[in-house]
């Protein structure tokens, strides 16, 4: 079992003819992902590595029975690509694009809530179910199939934790990068709920960071509804207020200081979630759960 993606996912890549799109499509296919189509306006009829390209997502989805898309479209055009994916409609949309204007995402999010589509991202590394399929830019080789779920706002931090897990022989059911933007589709609670309902996921590593209140909400959710043990990590303890720490969403608000690492760590601890001081400590906790 796994969440979000597996062997059966039929994937359309939006932006497949661009540099990043082309490169990562090849990586996804090599990993075993069933990429059935690409969608790029004006490029319909072409092929990329034998994968047929369509002018519209709608057409790609209809002709190739796609249910999932991965979006590599540049930020200025990404909101349009997301609207298009929601309208197709698809079951799952994974938006890799970093740097989508916040107000664009606000509108996409408004539309998203009227649909049954699950959006992951934007500004995320994607989703991987080791040994089955990966959507996005995660390096497949560091993952190993197993029974730990992973959800994270950050890309390389995820890799760091996964690398540590794998090196200790602990595999993963699915790893979900939910993205570092202030407005994202799937949040911690959504991903935790899916893992809770996945019988194969025996423990969960959750990597949060400063900004927003998603981790606090996740803590409330864990305390109230979850049986699967969770270990946490919060990046940005040393971040000054009012500064954007790389991710658009990683910012402690000035003055009042909401979105601090302290608040998140306290909330998680209150919910019985141990929070590691270092990535290794997170893996220690996970090992303890198994």
């Amino acid at each position: 079992m796994s969440i979000l993606v597996d062997n059966d996912s039929r994937v359309v890549v939006q932006g497949i003819t661009g540099g990043e799109g082309k490169f990562h499509t090849r990586q996804m296919v090599e990993y075993g992902t069933n990429v059935v189509a690409g969608a790029v306006p004006g490029k319909g009829g072409q092929e990329v590595d034998g994968i047929p390209v369509y002018d519209t997502v709608d057409r790609a989805a209809r002709e190739e029975n796609a249910d999932t898309s991965v979006v590599f479209v540049p930020p200025a055009f990404a909101a349009d690509a997301l609207f298009e994916a929601l309208d197709a409609p698809l079951d799952l949309v994974v938006a890799i694009t970093e740097g989508i204007p916040q107000q664009d995402m606000s509108k996409v999010y408004r539309k998203l809530r009227e649909t049954d589509t699950q959006l992951v991202g934007p500004n995320c590394p994607g989703v991987i179910t080791p040994g089955q399929a990966k959507l996005g830019i995660l390096p497949g080789n560091i993952f190993e199939s197993g029974n730990v779920g992973l959800v994270s706002r950050s890309g390389t931090l995820t890799y760091q934790v996964v690398d540590n897990l794998t090196k200790r022989g602990i595999g993963q059911t699915t790893a979900v990068g939910i993205g570092g933007d202030p407005i994202i589709g799937t949040d911690f609670v959504d991903a935790l709920e899916m893992f809770e309902n996945d019988p194969d996921t025996k423990a969960i590593a959750m990597c949060g960071e400063i900004g927003g209140e998603d981790e606090e909400e996740a803590a409330r959710y864990i305390g109230e509804y979850m049986d699967t043990p969770v270990a946490g990590f919060i990046a940005g303890r040393t971040a000054p207020p009012g500064k954007r720490m790389g991710h658009a969403g990683a910012i402690v608000s000035g003055g009042g200081g909401t979105g601090t690492a302290e608040s998140k760590i306290d909330a998680l601890n209150d919910a019985g979630v141990p929070v590691g001081d270092t990535p290794e400590e997170v893996v220690d906790h996970i090992e303890g759960f198994l």
Partner: protein
């Protein structure tokens, strides 16, 4: 990008939000001339982006040329909460009977903008929010429809704004929302919005944050970016296209990926050091970007040692190592000790390739950070 008060007020004025008469000055003489032109009383306000300027001595109210000169001499060149004051805004003082707070920001949990009004203006609104959240009326705005006029009225009436000025305040709020929408702002605040004895409404302060990711479609605002930057190094980072934040410590940090770089900062702190900066060089590690990143960090005179933490994902560790070697070799002399740690795909091959004459290599993140903290302590002594 956070605009300076004078920049934000210019934008407000263009949008039709009433602001006091004002002039920017960067010398004492300019400030006095401006004060004479505007007419007393005027406020002389330090143009640095920090809260609580007034309490910190960055704002003075003056009644004549002599006081204006004295105030300008005090403020121009002062160090205000760590920031150097280069410019002051000389502004007509507003004779107010009431101070309100109005603002528009993004509620990221809801993914929707929220308009805010409070009659508790003129004080730190975040303290008000913490102590008495009811004192701030919040109205969520549907991003698909934008602000409807009734929403501005509802916010203003529910906040308890006097009926005599409610219509004008609602109108200011609508203009601010429109401005928020039109300029891809992430935050707009007026605190205080002053109500004069005549019932006029005047924006006495102006905060405006623009979404960096949307600057590409606002060339007029993007032009303000250099002037808005608080720090030469931050301006340099804009040029190089790095996500960079300057801090006050002495351990320089370079890494890839926001979460991992933040974690590196946190570990520096955890192991007893003080981070000097956040610097994310992003995906890959081409020699040129590494060179630029090192240039940034070495340009910070506080830096005593550097830790370089790269997780190779799709980009293989051996390629990253080649980029780092090339970059390091381009320096005549490496001014401070650099610790490198590579992880992920082909990390071991990478570490074998690294030129250990120029850098110290460590295998784990924890070891690398500890080593850099150690070097920094040695260098600082």
């Amino acid at each position: 990008m956070k605009l300076h008060e004078y920049q934000a007020k210019g934008v407000f004025a263009d949008a039709g939000v009433p602001v006091p008469d004002s002039k920017l000055a960067s010398t004492v003489d300019e400030a006095v001339d401006a004060a004479e032109d505007i007419g007393y009383p005027v406020a002389i306000k330090a143009q640095v982006q920090v809260g609580g300027r007034g309490k910190a001595g960055g704002i003075e109210l003056v009644d004549n040329a002599e006081e204006a000169r004295e105030a300008a001499e005090n403020i121009i060149g002062m160090d205000l909460k760590g920031l150097h004051v280069d410019r002051v805004l000389v502004e007509a003082a507003v004779d107010f009977v009431n101070e309100l707070y109005v603002g528009v920001t993004m509620d990221r949990n809801e993914g929707e903008p929220v308009a805010m009004v409070s009659t508790r203006g003129g004080v730190n609104i975040e303290e008000v929010a913490a102590e008495d959240p009811e004192a701030i009326e919040r109205e969520h705005i549907d991003p698909a429809f934008g602000m409807q006029p009734y929403e501005s009225r509802k916010a203003v009436y529910e906040a308890g704004v006097d009926r005599e000025v409610a219509g004008d305040v609602a109108s200011v709020l609508r203009t601010l929302f429109q401005l928020w929408d039109d300029s891809d702002a992430t935050e707009i605040e007026v605190n205080p919005l002053m109500i004069t004895a005549d019932g006029d409404v005047v924006a006495a302060d102006a905060v405006m944050n623009i979404d960096d990711d949307a600057l590409f479609r606002h060339p007029d605002l993007a032009e303000m970016e250099d002037e808005a930057a608080e720090d030469d190094l931050e301006a340099k980072a804009n040029e190089y296209g790095f996500d960079y934040v300057r801090l006050s410590g002495n351990v320089g940090i370079i890494g890839n990926g926001a979460g991992l770089v933040m974690t590196t900062l946190d570990l520096v702190d955890y192991y007893g050091g003080e981070p000097a900066n956040f610097l994310d060089i992003g995906g890959g590690a081409k020699a040129e970007r590494v060179t630029n990143a090192l240039d940034m960090v070495f340009s910070d005179e506080n830096v005593d040692a550097v830790v370089f933490n790269i997780f190779g994902g799709i980009t293989r560790g051996d390629e990253v190592a080649k980029g780092i070697n090339e970059a390091l070799e381009s320096f005549d002399e490496i001014p401070k000790k650099v610790v490198v740690r590579l992880a992920g795909t082909n990390a071991e091959e990478g570490m074998d390739i690294l030129n250990t004459d120029l850098v110290t290599v460590e295998v784990t993140l924890e070891e690398a950070v500890q080593r850099a903290v150690e070097y920094a302590e040695e260098e600082a002594q």
